[in-house]
Symmetry: C2
Subunit: 414 residues, 2 copies
């Protein structure tokens, strides 16, 4: 008889991280796995034996459909870096003791770079120590920075949110401007890779100008050149909208947001809290040019807006979860499922698996030849790459005008 | 033969301001009005004779349907306060000369408080000077601060955006927290009235705890008491989410955001640009308690997210536009259309008109007896009031994964 499955979610949530969970549950039920456990708050909760019996929460396909439409990590997440076995073997002994106690044979972890490192460490340890458990990675990150896979589940929905909101913001910003120009600076996530910021270009269409400038973290940022560009645009346009990555850095390596002198924001440990990049740049635009400016930060909205998830993304997230679980049941370990795209139009894909050692701790950035106009825009190749990932809409289930979510807890408001 | 119609949009856009425009166009066509003009950028554009012939852009009902699904002001907007006739009679003479030149008999203005002041000034001037043109106001503001009408078109969709996003943010914030609590502070629009901030309570349901604290601008804000509350909550909860109005003020009348010492943000005129209220409070939470905090500002997204407009709101916005135009054709002037609600469940409404003198320049705030828990929450009466306004969803028209919009300009991206 087969052993049990455990699944964890790790790192920042995405709009579709629960679709991968749904795929794992479905594959496990199809394979007649006796018990499907969830880690409450990832590996951190697992180490406290905080396990969830998923049969208590998800009993039918209709629950799975609602789970697919639920934002953020249904199981709870963590940001926990597993020490190496050399540093701390006791922690590995503890993990395998818990796995044995619950008769867990298959360990699925949905996450980004750090989570793939966890899968690598655990599968290596298992092989080195004659353990039979299987460890499989399920890719997830809005940042789209995992290598080998064409793209990561979570990216398409975040890109769709960014493109849609950018389109709405551009229209809003264009509403004014009979007299003076308004400069709107939109800050988008992605500390090291510009995939999300680049997605702002997808707003460009016959009914939308798209952003005027797009600045990715792959290229060093020059504040003075930026201000010159803004002045040039303001001389000819009444609405200027600019997309900037939160991770813009100067040539000397400092983050742009570090230039902000906000002495108030010192935390208990004496660290200065940085105000945002867009906020700093908007202040700079107004103080040096007198132009009206407005910073907007998408913040966590770009990773939790499941109400407008991309159908392609939801489907792919579900499928990578399903395939990873199935692969584990077939005896694979130390691998991550990847998405391969053979044609972008029509969009044709298939799934594969790759050795986790090639993936963990490798960060994939936007190719430099896709960054154009002297570092202020992205190429048509990028548009071709990203366009199919935002297609289709998966509608929420509504009640009382609001999307319904599946939750571990039921709230009783008296 | 009847004269022509002109319609303008003024002030901050809403998700449904174009639905009112669609209603006016439909009523005008039904009444066989020869020409329907739009003011390009409101009364400011009108004064430059910048008029749009709407027949050039909207030829059929399918265009009207797309117009209803288009965010921000299709015609362009302005923030222009018409001087009184005593101060500047020449401007009135100019306005009426333009009206006569284009044989315009009906003047419809979609807007909030300032726009109703424009309607009042123009209709008063017409009556005093024996002019026959009719001036009608169409209510529009996400702030919901116009008197006499039960609520204003635009509020319901903004409330739906706020409640939906709040629900998604709460789930995101709850994803973490195996170890330390995270304090998320969400800043919502409404400088003087708390209607929008109060709408965050609508996120509360069996699947959502709702925000933990809600601070409206109607009640003086005490930073120390706030920090005490946060500490109390952080001692018992791992996720704390707080809704604050951008317009929170201390007992001495200063805005909370004015407490921020951001010396960088001085504009060309020497005015210090204020960073946001949430950003200031999040910094304060971290610096005094050491707790992890995150500020989020909905910014313009809350007024332009037509992709999730409330169907009730879209329909009402369309209807107030239609009714205002029809009333003008029947000879009414100096009035605004209001929405009356006879029952909230089932939701039963009808429309009426009111003398603009009772409306212009009057600001309606949240009743103090709807603010509970010592100024940190809102009552069930508020929930009953606002719940019907967010019901139903009007889906965008999608192409390439993104909502389509109707625009004055077509962009040709080479």
């Amino acid at each position: 008889m087969k052993g049990n499955v455990i699944v964890g979610q790790s790192g920042g949530p995405t709009a579709v991280i629960n679709a991968s969970l749904a795929g794992i549950i479905k594959a496990s039920r199809k394979a007649k796995i006796p018990k499907i456990y969830g880690m409450h708050y990832g590996i951190e909760g697992f180490l406290n034996e905080d396990l969830i019996d998923l049969d208590d929460y998800i009993t039918c396909d209709s629950d799975l459909s609602l789970l697919k439409r639920t934002p953020a990590s249904f199981l709870g997440s963590c940001r926990y870096k597993l020490p190496s076995a050399d540093e701390n073997e006791a922690i590995y002994e503890k993990i395998f003791a818990i796995l044995e106690k619950y008769n867990i044979e298959y360990f699925l972890y949905i996450g980004g770079n750090d989570s793939m490192d966890t899968i690598q460490s655990l599968s290596d340890y298992a092989i080195a120590n004659g353990k039979t458990q299987k460890f499989m990675g399920v890719p997830k990150t809005i940042d789209n920075d995992l290598p080998l896979t064409d793209h990561t589940p979570g990216y398409g929905s975040a890109a769709k949110y960014i493109a849609t909101s950018m389109k709405e913001i551009i229209r809003d910003n264009e509403s004014f401007g009979a007299s003076k120009p308004t400069i709107c600076i939109v800050e988008i996530m992605g500390r090291h890779a510009g995939w999300l910021t680049a997605a702002s270009v997808l707003s460009k269409d016959v009914d939308c100008s798209g952003p005027d400038l797009i600045y990715l973290p792959e290229i060093p940022f020059d504040v003075d050149q930026f201000l010159e560009k803004v002045k040039e645009l303001a001389a000819v346009k009444r609405s200027v909208v600019i997309a900037v990555s939160e991770g813009l850095r100067l040539a000397d390596g400092r983050f742009v947001c570090e230039l902000s002198q906000t002495s108030e924001y010192v935390d208990a440990f004496g660290h200065r809290q940085l105000s945002g990049c867009a906020s700093y740049l908007a202040g700079k635009v107004t103080s040096t040019t007198g132009l009206k400016s407005r910073p907007i930060e998408f913040s966590t909205l770009q990773r939790c807006a499941t109400h407008m998830a991309s159908r392609v993304d939801v489907d792919e997230a579900y499928e990578v979860g399903f395939i990873a679980a199935k692969a584990a049941f077939e005896g694979n370990t130390g691998m991550m499922v990847i998405i391969e795209v053979s044609e972008r139009e029509p969009y044709l894909t298939n799934y594969n698996m790759y050795d986790i050692h090639e993936i963990a701790n490798v960060e994939r950035k936007v190719p430099l030849h896709w960054i154009t106009r002297n570092g202020t825009y992205v190429s048509d190749e990028f548009v071709e790459y990203a366009s199919p990932l935002i297609i289709g809409t998966i509608l929420p289930y509504y009640a009382g005008g609001l999307p319904k979510h599946l939750t571990l807890k039921r709230y009783d408001h008296k």
